[in-house]
Structure formats: structure tokens, C-alpha cells
Amino acid sequence: MLSIKNLSKTFSSAGEPVHVLRGVDLDLRAGERVALTGESGSGKSTLLHLIAGLDAADGGAIRLEDVEVTALSDAGRASLRRDRIGLVFQQFNLIPSLSVADNLVFQARIADRHDAAWTKELVERLGLGALLKRYPEQLSGGQQQRVAIGRALATKPSLLLADEPTGNLDETTAENVLALTRDLVARTGCGFLMVTHSLHLAGTLDRHLTLHAGRIA
């Protein structure tokens, strides 16, 4: 479902080129759950951003289902994210002016993929029933992350990308949130790629990859 070939990305820092990714190859099947670990600065988040179309690669190819991501325009990448990808960030990145209920359905409605029954199921599974009228700043970190996961899965994406989704949570909450995510991913059948620093959490997924010096080790 996701196929990455020889992906490279270079940044410029203080006038010096920094080669973050140096020919990454990666394949991910539908329904597969993969953890990606690595040292700080090894390029994990950059890889995730390139897959999501948040940034453009310098070389190589990314193919998601039938779409050549690296060949897409800015608008094409936007519609790809809207329709086929769910994104979860460490900082939650909810929309502060909208209530929990509105945040949950936001992406699905923009993508015109709103499914009321599925949303209801998400609310129940994520335990958000009592929080729907609240605003993000009134929620704890764990609650905010559950809303972010709900928002990402509400579109029934092909691929769920999570960048340190448990980085801001305590150990117990992190395990609970990840367990929920695993269940929901299994329920939707989408692929799941998670960047994490936790080897313990990485071990709970189907496959564990390590990024080192810009390559999959």
C-alpha cells in the first residue's frame, strides 16, 4: 500500500547542507502496523512529513496506493492528506476555536467522508462522550490525544501516520492511547506508521524499524 524507494532529503543549517535522509526504502502493507524509532535528528519526523506530503523530497519516490506522492503538486498533496491520510502529532494540534465534537468531524466533513455511525463508534471507543461540548484547552493531554486520533480516523484513511503520539503522555496513559489506536486501526484496516522513542511501545506493533544516519537500519 505504501512504497518508498531511495528517498532523500537535505536541509541547510547555518549555510551547511545536512543530509537527513539518504536513500530510504520502506514498504507497508494495508492493515500493517509499523513502529519507527531512532536517535534524535535521525530523520524520523522528516520521513513522516514527506509521506504525508507536508514537505517535498529532494529525491526518490513515495507511492501511496495508486498515487505517486512525490509527483503531486501542492494542491494534490493537500487533497491526498485530506482524503487518504490521518495525522496525529505529539502536540495534538487540535483547533482551539472548535469544540471536541466539531474537531472530531472536521476533517471527515471537509473530505466529504463524514459517517455519523462511524463517528459515534469512535466517540464511544475513545471515551469522548462526556467531553464533546468541551474545548481543547479544557482537556488533559491524554484526552486531547484521543480527540486527535478520533479526528484522524474519522475519514477512514488508508494510512494513519503518528509522530510521537504518546510523547506528551505518562506511561499508563500512553499505553491506553496506543491500545485504543491499535484497535481502531485494526477495525478500519488502514496502515499505521508510528514514530516513537519508546522501544517498549514500538514492540507492541507488527514491525519495528530503526532509522540510523538517514537510512533504515
Binding site: 519526523s45 492528506r81 485530506r82 483547533i95 472548535l98 468531524v105 471537509i110 474545548y135 484547552e137 510521537e164
Partner: protein, 820 residues
């Protein structure tokens, strides 16, 4: 000390990283200081000019003796008083025409002139001889000399044919006055042995009681702190001050938003400083020092800008004051050291006021960050409720002032309260509109559009308040000026009844012109008018003599009239009164006004009230023949003619050739009208300039608010981009949001502006000038202003929006980076 410098260095490092924010802060302070100090410079210049006029050889700031019943009194009273030990000095005042211009002629007695007559310019001992000894001298201000188109040493003739002594420039002298020796003045004004007043110096010993020397022939007039000119022009300067204050506050809005944002961004830095051991007192003191230092720098730049603004506006202000009140203000700017000090002071005070909220927050700030106890909506609701309650209180004050206030200050108070209250209630009204939009929204982006606009309201509210105030003032002032303009033009069409106007240089020429005109077949009627001056109830009044002609009955506009008003004017015992003078004297149709005339009191029944826009003096219109009977010295130099349109150019050319008249001395109706309209437009030029300045500053306030908000909004917008909304689309939404709130604000500004116009027309104008205009609404003008507001908002929003549209994905991705 070293510790404080370290803290200061840390605080200043914030500005290095946020250069635009730093520029915003300085722009706000500079704009506030420049506009305020510019207006103050103009006011100070005008007040200095009034002081000069008041102190011209004993003006209203000097105690004096005057005749209670007449304009003049016999000179023998002066001799009696000097013998009784009264330190008095004689003066005679009147008006003469020089080169077709009416100027004040003041005769003084320099030997007995008291030394304590304020800051009057003194004649040097060496010049005294030349001033007194024949042929004497005529002292004149430089600007008056150039207005009269004469050179120093010239001896121009006045209207009765007599010549003035050689002109000599005395730089300190007030403009518009000619000063001669008392004997010369008595000869020129044809008032032998007559005086207008006696100036009183400090007595060395207690003189005999006044009544025991002169009986009731003279009365004492105590010196007053405020001159007639100051009283008349109070409203104008108050108006300028109001504009200056408005611009000052709009500038402070900018400062407030910049300081507020900087504070929010520096919160972690402040906490770190505290955590590292810097005491709260040290951090807060350094914050204040930093602010004062910035205010000092911006204040100095603002003062320089203010000086240039004042220099640019001063000619228009001088024209306005001359047009509205006859006040003579020099067109060149001279400033006192106090102006510079006051400017720096106002900049620092303004900065401290604008930053007060942030400073208080800093003082109360705990070292550790705590979670917000309430959601943004609850906090916003509390803030809106409190602000709305404050607005209601301010509106109540406006109502009380409207009900019970009598003075001009109360009129301006109503205006100020109205605008302040409206600004306070604006966020609540916008919240209601946006909430309604949110509730009606069905699509997710529309829902976000309204919800996010609501959340942005607190950050944008000050800039929107500034926009509301600037627009309301624009609507109000433009409506007032347009109303005045149309009323004035209608009035002018009626008042300028004759087809050709002639101003003879003296009576002899006037007679010659009239005789010549009687021989011409192309002249249908000769309308000889006249003007004299007198005092009624202590107030100066101009007596306008009109001939009895059907043309006036048909075209001269009267606001109110008794039955057969024009017929009753003919015998000479009735008068029309100007609207402003009738208000000032509280005189209505049917009342009697007593005018002191050379032959005794002239009783006039008031049979009509007419508008007399732009005339600072009170005016009574009488039959011209009766005027000449009562005031035999009235110059008979003004002539109006009824001529067929096609004959006008030929007649004017013939008049100019026959009597060597220049364009100022003979003109057709169209030229006079065009000149009046030009003066009218110049009078309001300063208002238009200040209007534009205020709107400009409001535009800057909106621009800086949007720019500073744009930076803090990135984390709000990046998630939307991440879930599939393109940057151009996001930018378009942001632009639509800004334009929407600006449109709502502009639409709310329209009724507020019309209310402001009503206040100006029905309250302020009546109290300040004595005339009331009909209230008109000009829809096209309102549409134009709303369009200007939207254009200003578009320009203000364009840069932040363009930056967003072109923003590199890397910048947006940073929002999601864990290792930022």
C-alpha cells in the same frame, strides 16, 4: 546594577528576534506622539497669536475705563482722571479701509502708556520722537504690511482720502492692526477730542474714587484671562484637540497590541529569569525602564514628525481661523521648549498607559505557569459582559450630559462619551453577529470561519475599536461638512443678489463711480450698501446697511420673519438679526435691540432672523439710508449692480479702465461666489487632513494587529493545512475573515457616525458658532467611506495573508516538529 543590565540585555534580545513587532511598537508610539504634539503645536501657535493681539498696547488683559453708553467719550475725562492721580493712558480705536481692506486703527498715547500692560511691544526711547513728531509713524506687523501690499515707509490713503503716516514694521505687533499716535488717530477717524478707552496702570497711591471724578460717564472693565478671540476660537481648538486625542488613542491601541503580544511571547523568558534568581522587583523595574527608554526614543522621533505635521497643517489652520473667526495667525511655526518637554512626557505616559495591563500581569505573574481555569469562550464572555456594562455606564453619562449639559464642553463630552461607549460595546456586538453566523453555519469550514473569528476577536478588538472610531468620526465630520457645504452654497446663492460688486477705495471714488454708472444704460439698478461697527451689550456688532430693492425681498434668505418684514425695515427703526447673534443675545422677533450710535441710542425692532455663516461677529441688517443717518462716518464704498448677464464683462472692463480698479475691487457674482467657495473649502481643509490622518493611523493599527496576530496564528492554521486545506485557500479564508469583521465594523460605524454628525450639527455647532444646520444624510458618501474602510482593511490584511499564501511548507511543518 550589573544584574539589572543583564536582565535588560535578555529582555532586549526579544526585539532582535521580533523586528517587526519592535517596529510596530515604535510606529504606534511615534504616530501617537506625532499627531498629538502636532495638534498641540498648532494650538500653541494660535494661542500665542491671541496673546499678542490681546497685549497690543493694552488689550483685554489690561484693566480699562470705557463709556457705558457710547463708543467714545470726551478727552477731558482723561485729563480729569490724570489730575486725580489715576495712572491712565488714552486710546482710540476704529476701522479704516486701506487699499480696499478693512483694518483696525489704534491710536495710543505712548508717553503715558503704563509699563504693566502685559507683554505689549514697547517703543524704544529713540523711536518715541519719530512716532510722536509729525508726520509720525504707523506701526504695523510684517504680515499685515504684505497683506496691504505696501512697503515700509509708504503713506497709503484710507477711505476718507486722508493719508496714513509712514508705515514702519514692528515685528512683535499683532497682525491686522495699525498703531498710530492718538492725535493722528483722532484726525484719521474724524473724532477730534474723543477717546475709546483709558488703559489703567498700577497706581502709586490710592487715587480718588472713580465716581467722584467722572461720575457715571466711565465704567471700570476688569482684565480678563480669556480674550474674545480665545472664547470664540475655543470650539475650534477643542475640535483640533479632540482629533489629536483620538489619533493619540488610536496610536496607543497599536502600542497596546504590540506590548501585549510581546509580553505573551516573553512570558517563558520572564519565568526563566525569575527561576534563575532575578527578583520580581528587578524584572518588573527593568521592564518599566525598557518601556520608558523606548518611549523616549519614539517620543523624540514623534516630536520631529509632529513638528512637520504642524508646519504642513498650519497654513490651513490659519486660513480656517481667519475664515471662521477673523483671527490672524502667522503661517510660520515657532515653538516653545515646553512643547518638546510635554511631547516627551505624553509619549512616556502614553506608553505606560498602553502597557499597563501587561505590566500588571507581569507584576502578578507566578513563577510557575498555571493552567487556565476557564476556556477561552468563558473568559471572553466575562470580558465582553464587563466591557458592555462599562459601555452602558458611559452611554448613561452621555445621556445625562445631553439632558443637563449647557456648555460647549458638555457638547464635546456627549460626543466623547458616545464614541467611547460605542468602542467599548463593539466587541460584544461583533460577538453576537459572529455567534449568529456560527450557529447558522452548516459546512465545517464555515463553522471554523465563524468560530475562529470569534476567538480572534479579543486580539483584534482594539484595532477594530480604532477603526470604528476613525470611521465614525469620518462619517460624522464628512456629513457635517457636506451638510454645511450644501447649506452654505444655497445660502450664498441667495445672499449674493447683485450681479457685479464694486469696492471703491474711498467715498469720493464711490460717488464718482455711482455718477458714472447712472449714465450707463446697461446698468439696471445700483445697490449702494454700507457697513458700520458698534457694540451691543458689550459685544461687537456689524451693522449692514441694505438698500430697499425688490431683489432682496425675492432672494435674500430669512430663517424667520415677522409679517411685512422688508417693508418695516425701510423707515429705519427695524432690523434683521443674524442667527448666531440672536442666540448670543437671546433676542427673538419682536424684541428690541439698543445700538449705541454717535447721535444717541438707536432702538431697533427685530423683524427677521437670517443665517450669516462664517461671520465671527454679530450682525444686524438695517436700511442703508437709516444707517448713514445714524452713523454718518459709514464708508459708502460698497456698490452692487444689477446687470444683464451678457453685459457684465464689458461693464467690468469699462469700470477697470475708467477708475483703475483691480480685480479685488470689482468682480462679478460668479467670481465672488467662487472665491467664497474657495475660502469655505480651505476652512475645512484641516478637518479633512486630520480625518485622513486618523483613518490612516487606524489602518496602521489594523495592519500591525493583523501582522502580530499572523505570527501567533500559525499553530492555529498549520493543523488545517496538515489535514488538507491548501495555503492559498487558507489565505483566502483569512482575508475574507478580516474583511468580514472590518465590514461589520464599518456598517456599525455608519449609524454611529450619523449620530456623531447629529451631535456636531445640533449641539456642538449651535454652541460653538450659534448656527444650526438642517440634518442631511448622503448615502453615496457613506458607501464611499465603507468602501474606503474595506480598502484600508484589505491593504492591512494583504501582507500577512500574502505571507501565509507564500509560506514555505518548512515553516508550517515546524509547528508539528517535536524537536523545535
Amino acid at each position: 546594577m550589573r544584574r539589572a543590565l543583564w536582565v535588560l540585555a535578555v529582555l532586549l534580545s526579544h526585539w532582535r528576534r521580533h523586528k517587526m513587532q519592535f517596529a510596530t511598537l515604535l510606529v504606534g508610539l511615534i504616530a501617537a506622539t506625532a499627531l498629538w504634539s502636532g495638534v498641540q503645536a498648532i494650538n500653541q501657535q494660535a494661542r500665542n497669536a491671541y496673546d499678542r493681539a490681546a497685549a497690543t498696547f493694552g488689550g483685554i488683559r489690561t484693566a480699562m475705563l470705557v463709556a457705558p453708553a457710547g463708543a467714545t467719550f470726551p478727552q477731558e475725562l482723561f485729563i480729569k482722571l490724570r489730575r486725580a492721580g489715576w495712572p491712565v493712558s488714552s486710546a482710540l480705536e476704529g476701522r479704516v479701509q486701506v487699499n480696499g481692506r478693512s483694518v483696525r486703527l489704534l491710536g495710543i498715547e505712548p508717553v503715558t502708556l503704563p509699563v504693566e500692560i502685559g507683554n505689549a511691544p514697547r517703543l524704544g526711547a529713540a523711536d518715541l520722537g519719530r512716532f510722536v513728531a509729525p508726520p509720525g509713524q504707523t506701526l504695523v506687523a510684517r504680515e499685515t504690511l504684505s497683506e496691504l501690499q505696501e512697503a515700509e515707509g509708504a503713506t497709503p490713503p484710507i477711505s476718507n482720502g486722508a493719508k496714513l503716516p509712514p508705515l514702519r514694521v514692528l515685528p512683535q505687533l499683532a497682525p491686522g492692526v495699525l498703531v498710530v499716535d492718538i492725535g493722528v488717530a483722532q484726525r484719521l477717524l474724524n473724532k477730534p477730542d474723543q477717546l475709546s478707552r483709558l488703559l489703567i496702570g498700577k497706581p502709586k497711591s490710592k487715587p480718588a474714587p472713580l465716581a467722584s471724578v467722572v461720575g457715571d460717564q466711565l465704567q471700570l472693565v476688569e482684565p480678563t484671562a480669556e480674550t474674545e478671540l480665545e472664547r470664540l476660537t475655543d470650539s475650534f481648538h477643542l475640535n483640533l484637540t479632540a482629533f489629536g486625542l483620538l489619533s493619540f488613542f488610536v496610536g496607543l491601541f497599536i502600542v497596546n497590541s504590540a506590548v501585549g503580544l510581546a509580553f505573551e511571547q516573553r512570558l517563558p523568558m520572564l519565568r526563566t529569569l525569575r527561576a534563575c534568581g532575578a527578583s520580581a522587583r528587578l524584572v518588573n523595574s527593568v521592564l518599566v525602564v525598557e518601556l520608558v527608554a523606548l518611549a523616549l526614543i519614539a517620543g523624540l522621533i514623534g516630536l520631529v514628525c509632529g513638528y512637520f505635521i504642524a508646519a504642513v497643517l498650519l497654513p490651513d489652520v490659519a486660513a480656517s481661523l481667519r475664515g471662521l473667526y477673523g483671527a490672524q495667525i502667522p503661517g510660520q511655526l515657532t515653538l516653545q521648549p515646553e512643547w518638546w518637554l510635554a511631547g516627551i512626557g505624553i509619549s512616556i505616559a502614553g506608553a505606560l498607559v498602553a502597557a499597563a495591563t501587561s505590566l500588571i500581569k507581569a507584576i502578578r505573574m507566578p513563577v510557575l505557569a498555571t493552567a487556565q481555569p476557564h476556556a477561552w469562550q468563558q473568559r471572553q464572555r466575562r470580558w465582553l459582559i464587563l466591557q458592555s456594562l462599562a459601555a452602558c455606564a458611559v452611554f448613561a453619562v452621555a445621556l445625562l450630559l445631553l439632558q443637563y449639559g449647557q456648555s460647549l464642553i458638555a457638547g464635546f463630552g456627549v460626543l466623547a462619551a458616545l464614541m467611547f461607549g460605542a468602542a467599548l460595546i463593539l466587541p460584544a456586538l461583533l460577538e453576537i453577529i459572529l455567534l449568529a453566523g456560527q450557529r447558522a453555519a452548516r459546512k465545517p469550514l464555515a463553522l471554523w470561519f465563524w468560530a475562529d473569528s470569534r476567538q480572534q476577536l479579543s486580539g483584534l478588538s482594539l484595532a477594530l475599536m480604532a477603526l470604528l472610531l476613525a470611521l465614525a468620526v469620518n462619517v460624522g465630520v464628512s456629513t457635517m461638512v457636506e451638510t454645511f457645504s450644501r447649506t452654505f452654497l444655497g445660502w450664498l446663492n441667495g445672499r449674493l443678489a447683485a450681479d457685479v460688486y464694486i469696492s471703491a477705495s474711498d467715498n469720493a471714488q464711490g460717488v464718482a463711480i455711482r455718477n458714472w454708472l447712472r449714465e450707463r444704460s446697461d446698468v439696471q439698478a445700483i445697490l449702494s450698501g454700507g457697513r458700520a461697527e458698534a457694540q451691543v451689550q458689550g459685544q461687537p456688532v456689524e451693522l449692514l446697511g441694505l438698500p430697499d430693492h425688490a431683489l432682496y425681498r425675492e432672494r435674500w434668505p430669512l430663517l424667520e420673519a415677522a409679517p411685512r418684514a422688508w417693508s418695516r425695515l425701510m423707515p429705519g427703526n427695524a432690523a434683521f438679526i443674524s442667527e448666531q447673534f440672536s442666540r448670543r443675545l437671546n433676542v427673538r422677533i419682536g424684541d428690541v435691540v439698543e445700538v449705541p450710535a454717535p447721535g444717541g441710542t438707536w432702538e431697533l425692532d427685530i423683524v427677521g432672523v437670517y443665517a450669516d455663516y462664517g461671520n465671527p461677529k454679530g450682525q444686524l441688517t438695517v436700511n442703508v439710508a437709516a444707517l448713514i443717518r445714524q452713523f454718518p462716518q459709514t464708508p459708502q464704498t460698497r456698490i452692487g449692480l444689477i446687470v444683464a448677464k451678457e453685459n457684465i464683462p464689458g461693464l467690468i472692463a469699462a469700470l477697470q479702465k475708467q477708475f483703475a480698479l483691480d480685480d479685488r475691487s470689482v468682480a462679478d457674482q460668479a467670481t465672488v461666489k467662487a472665491e467664497s467657495v474657495r475660502i469655505f473649502n480651505r476652512t475645512f481643509a484641516v478637518t479633512s487632513a486630520l480625518n485622513a490622518f486618523t483613518l490612516g493611523v487606524a489602518g496602521i493599527a489594523l495592519f500591525t494587529s493583523l501582522l502580530t496576530l499572523a505570527n501567533s496564528r500559525l499553530p492555529h492554521l498549520a493543523p488545517l493545512w496538515a489535514i488538507g486545506i491548501t495555503r492559498p485557500r487558507l489565505a483566502a479564508i483569512e482575508l475574507t475573515k478580516t474583511l468580514s469583521v472590518a465590514l461589520f465594523t464599518a456598517l456599525l460605524a455608519v449609524p454611529l457616525g450619523l449620530l456623531v454628525a447629529w451631535c456636531l450639527i445640533a449641539i456642538v455647532n449651535v454652541k460653538a458658532f450659534g448656527w444650526r444646520l438642517p440634518f442631511h444624510v448622503f448615502p453615496l458618501q457613506l458607501v464611499e467611506l465603507v468602501a474606503v474602510a474595506l480598502l484600508a482593511s484589505l491593504l492591512a490584511a494583504l501582507l500577512p495573508v500574502a505571507r501565509l499564501a507564500r509560506m514555505q511548507p518548512a515553516n508550517l511543518v515546524k509547528v508539528f516538529a517535536n524537536e523545535r
